[in-house]
Symmetry: C2
Subunit: 258 residues, 2 copies
């Protein structure tokens, strides 16, 4: 099987011009088939504010009203996505931007209402691996914004960490998949205040221990849950680290192990 | 050679929900390979206003400042493009949104400054027919927003009528191309006040006569110049008409003839 590298970058990197440039430079150099999944960052919140659209958060998750959906479609699907594409094109990387709706690559359904109605938030149902394979074999590098659709004409806001994980899982039937999560830190830290305390190998058992002891908390949990899910379901390698550690053929950071 | 239908729709149609639904319904039914090129419409101007970005026009053309470029990338490349894609997907049409930057399909350069600096406005240099052919042969229906890039990391605002024309010209080396311009009127009118006065066949000679006599003016001129350019350079059929006249296998309106 051929190799495929899926890189997920968060908003913190997209918001910082120097970090973004480092990402573009290093991502463009990765060998073989690759996909970039990006989050949104502060631009969506800032644009919403300028447009007078209120940002509502519950437990760190954004509720997506109809007005907020318009903002994230504009910002994630338009501004952020096309900026990244144009910058990668300038580095001879044949990037093309997609949302889950484009070529129906990621089908979702509205998140069911239990205690909270998240609004236009979608949970992934299906990844269209055949279309992605066709694009990759044409030499296209998909740059995927965190939006999905339901094939009934509706768009949804969808978590980028989850999208990267489900893409890795689905595509592991066709490729040897490496999933690299890029964020602001050099890896998962044993001491949040010390960037030199990177946990080099994180097993599911160690992950449980660190959760119980409070070493790993909050923001890292969904990323790690998504990473472990991909690893259990077929991804060959899942690593969490910082942009500048992205190399043509390797990535340094915290490696997840089962 | 296989057939390819390129449909261009303007902002007036995109802004009107009933017109947009008619477009989606009829476009989805067109047989064979097809591409949709869309303009922007009032949403860009409205969004710019809400964001406090001033719209500057010279001779009916929008000047594109850095702030305005951000708005059109958000609105054309994000909101309008993805809405159309999601709606087409709901009609079993495998639409995927692109700007000229995506997969480098349309390369442009900044419009040279003569008397006016249009800002981030790009003139098309090259169409990447091979990538488009690859997408079409995969069954993908490109939905193209009026934005281009220069392969140096810059995005440009580009006239959608021109983009449709240059796509038709370039792709006529690979396909039998039909170019259909959809707008609010049933065709080019001999009497602007009378929708029943459609000019069924418009030759270059008749076009000159109508221009001189003032029957055809202003807004129609760039569309017709673009249409004639495509016809002279290889398109098999160029027709200008209204959305509801779009059929699975034909389009009614004003047919251009050389």
């Amino acid at each position: 099987m051929e190799k495929l590298t899926i890189v997920k970058v968060g908003g913190g990197i997209l918001d910082e011009p120097t970090q973004l440039d480092a990402l573009i430079l290093h991502f463009a150099q990765i060998n073989g088939h690759k996909i970039l999944v990006h989050g949104g960052g502060k631009v969506a919140t800032q644009t919403a504010k300028r447009l007078g659209v209120e940002t509502q958060m519950v437990d760190g998750r954004r509720l997506t009203s109809t007005e907020m959906l318009e903002v994230v479609v504009m910002v994630y699907g338009g501004l952020v996505n096309k900026r990244v594409v144009a910058k990668l094109q300038a580095k001879q990387c044949n990037a093309a931007g997609f949302t889950g709706a484009d070529a129906n690559i990621i089908l979702a359904e509205k998140r069911p209402i239990k205690t909270i109605d998240y609004g236009w938030v979608g949970d992934v149902k299906e990844v269209n691996t055949e279309v992605l394979k066709g694009l990759l074999s044409q030499g296209i590098v998909p740059v995927i914004a965190p939006l999905t659709h339901d094939k009934q004409g509706n768009l949804y806001n969808t978590n980028a960490d989850t999208m990267a994980s489900v893409l890795a899982t689905a595509l592991s039937s066709l490729y040897q998949v490496r999933l690299w999560y890029c964020f602001e830190k050099p890896g998962v830290l044993a001491n949040a205040q010390d960037d030199n305390s990177v946990i080099e190998h994180l097993s599911t058992q160690l992950y449980q221990t660190y959760q119980q002891s409070g070493v790993i908390t909050d923001g890292m949990l969904p990323k790690l849950d998504n990473g472990f899910a991909a690893l259990r379901q077929g991804a060959q390698e899942v690593i969490i680290g910082t942009t500048t550690a992205l190399g043509a053929d390797a990535f340094a950071g915290t490696r997840l192990v089962l």
